[in-house]
């Protein structure tokens, strides 16, 4: 199968071909999602070298375990980012580092400034998703964004967030719950696509 053919395939088909050990399919998946995976890893660990190690680990894991992917449970990008986030937070906890210098703040969430990766169709889809998510997040209060960042990018528990911010645990719990409920309602069909 020529390279052009792989570029035309949807994500689910690529995963099925990866399960059949088609290296070209892995190459295409990498081209589509490497920036998404690497960006997430980098925003968690704050170090490019470690983020590249995590990115490599994620794609090799997909290569080895593609048969475990269930399209009815999550989209491919959700699957990839779930693996990435767990690996990155695990790495962060092993080193005990807190990449405060590079931490995402979400304080100035604005529409996406550039399309992501892959072919035009994938890039357009990712750009549209990014714009909708950014719009939804921009509607959260600064306090809600703050607790989400600490949970999502730094892997802190609610108790750790309360301690870090010097606020009551109940307040943190409420902010997390309300923020997630808002995002779920705002993203709705996008998140479940």
């Amino acid at each position: 199968m020529a390279d052009a053919d792989y570029a035309a395939l949807d994500d689910g088909t690529l995963i099925r071909l990866i399960a059949l050990a088609r290296e070209d399919a892995l190459s295409e998946l990498y081209d589509r999602y490497v920036r998404l995976v690497f960006s997430l890893a980098l925003n968690v660990v704050g170090d490019a070298s470690t983020a590249e190690e995590i990115t490599q680990d994620v794609f090799v894991r997909v290569w080895e375990h593609a048969t475990q992917y269930r399209a009815d449970l999550a989209g491919v990008s959700t699957w990839l980012t779930s693996i990435t986030r767990h690996r990155a937070i695990d790495a962060l906890r092993r080193t005990g580092a807190r990449p405060d210098r590079n931490a995402v703040t979400w304080a100035e969430v604005a529409p996406a400034e550039e399309p992501a990766v892959g072919g035009p169709e994938v890039a357009t889809t990712l750009a549209l998703e990014s714009a909708r998510v950014r719009a939804a997040v921009s509607e959260l209060s600064p306090e809600q964004k703050q607790v989400l960042v600490l949970a999502y990018f730094q892997g802190l528990t609610q108790s750790q967030i309360a301690e870090a911010l010097g606020m009551p645990l109940g307040t943190v719990k409420t902010r997390v719950r309300l923020a997630m409920q808002h995002l779920r309602a705002a993203l709705g069909d996008l998140a479940l696509a």
Binding site: Y30, E52, Q68, D90, Y152, L183
Partner: protein
Amino acid sequence: MPTDDHVTDLLPAYALGCLDEEEAGAVVVHLASCDTCRAELRTYQATCGELVHVAPTATPSRELKGRVMAAARQARSTQPAAASPSLPERIAGLLRLRAPAWGAVGLALVTLLIVSNVWWWQRSTGPSAVTLDSGMRVIDMAGVGAASEASGTLVISDDGEYGTLVVDGLPSLPADRQYQLWLIRDGQRTNGGVFSVSLEGYGALVVASPDPLSSYPGFGVTIEPAGGSPSPTGDQVLAGTL
């Protein structure tokens, strides 16, 4: 936690992975028997999956792709060995995991392992079931059939009363299906509890048993309708013996 006492308010934080251990454990136990909360959780997990789009984008080095493809080829050529890590390696890996689903493991498995100093067992080889100095038993459960790459570890307390099953590499199931543990004795199969696994194939179960777990010489896991069956009806995916 009764099935009708839903954990709705905890699900957003559980999906984010920021629940503290005790609450996460309660959620895991509840999810094992509640279709409503599992469906609700899935919507929050999907929302979490979208948050990645807020992260500032960055580009890795051009060399990374070559390293990924080379590592993939290497992984494929050595997959049989890589797919069969030793039990201690798996336990060590499981203990390092901090994914949301491991809240229950933190409560049950970690306590058991620390108390028993399971690391001493690391030098042991061969047998599929081991009794530690502390009296605690560790049973290696192997994947069978279509789930040959899966594995599980059943840890039974020294008095035989309590057990925790952790699994790795089991495929995620449709919403109307769950895994069910069977306690096998004299040809009879008794329900040991039902559980689901994460997208990555991890799962945990605090084992419920009418009799001491140590009185059952065999254990198996099958795929059953959500909530479990009175007796096995689906494909077996894991098997182990005491």
